[in-house]
């Protein structure tokens, strides 16, 4: 497409939007005359001209919102999934969040890893040795492992 042609399409697109919605089709048809290609171009663009949320949230904000939503939903601090008392969050990364917790049954410290939804695709590759799955409604996204002294203390 030449830039001249694009200008023609764009001008007619904006002029059509200035018309009342129900007279746009007739307006475009008249302005295009027998240039059917121009009419189709403008009509197909007008069909997508509604004002809504499309692209209106900058991608960084959308990503931050998704992350905040995720964190709010999966923040375990102070909560008690089954017999684990969550002490605090000790780490977070691309895979998810890691909490330090106390296993009230066994009387020892454990780490609880809450995986991000996206990480579930990699679940099969996630090292499962020495890991036990917590029996909670969110079991598929939670991994419990024994807290060892070799881990960095908060």
């Amino acid at each position: 497409m030449t830039s001249e042609r694009l200008r023609q399409i764009e001008q007619l697109y904006h002029r059509a939007l200035e018309q009342e919605a129900d007279s746009r089709t007739a307006f475009v048809a008249e302005a295009c005359g027998d240039d059917e290609e121009l009419r189709q171009e403008v009509e197909s663009l007008l069909a997508e001209s509604r004002d809504d949320a499309f692209l209106e949230t900058p991608i960084v904000q959308a990503a931050a919102k998704a992350r905040a939503h995720n964190e709010a939903q999966w923040n375990l601090a102070g909560k008690m999934p089954t017999h684990y008392r969550v002490i605090n969050q000790i780490g977070a990364g691309g895979m998810g969040v890691v909490y330090l917790a106390h296993d009230e049954t066994l009387g020892r410290e454990v780490t609880i890893k809450v995986l991000n939804p996206v990480s579930l695709a990699d679940r099969k590759r996630y090292p499962t040795a020495r890991l036990r799955t917590c029996k909670s409604p969110c079991a598929t996204r939670i991994r419990i492992t024994t807290w060892t002294t070799t881990c960095c203390r908060p």
Binding site: S3, L6, A47, A53, P58
Partner: protein
Amino acid sequence: MRASPTLNQAEWCNLEVVDDRKSRVVELRFFGGLSAEETSEVLNVSAVTVMRDWKFAKSWLRRELAGEKSRDV
């Protein structure tokens, strides 16, 4: 929550080839998070022009995305 739209390379290049300034407007606003006024300062055009470019570019991209979707089916 509404899923964020994704722009693939083909749609992006298409707009870039067709109109460099419009692709810059989308880049600055959608990827950079700039307001219309800030975008107009960077591109040295009026805010009205930015909004016209923005409106047209969105229609253009949405048409490309819709076309791609129907081709996938």
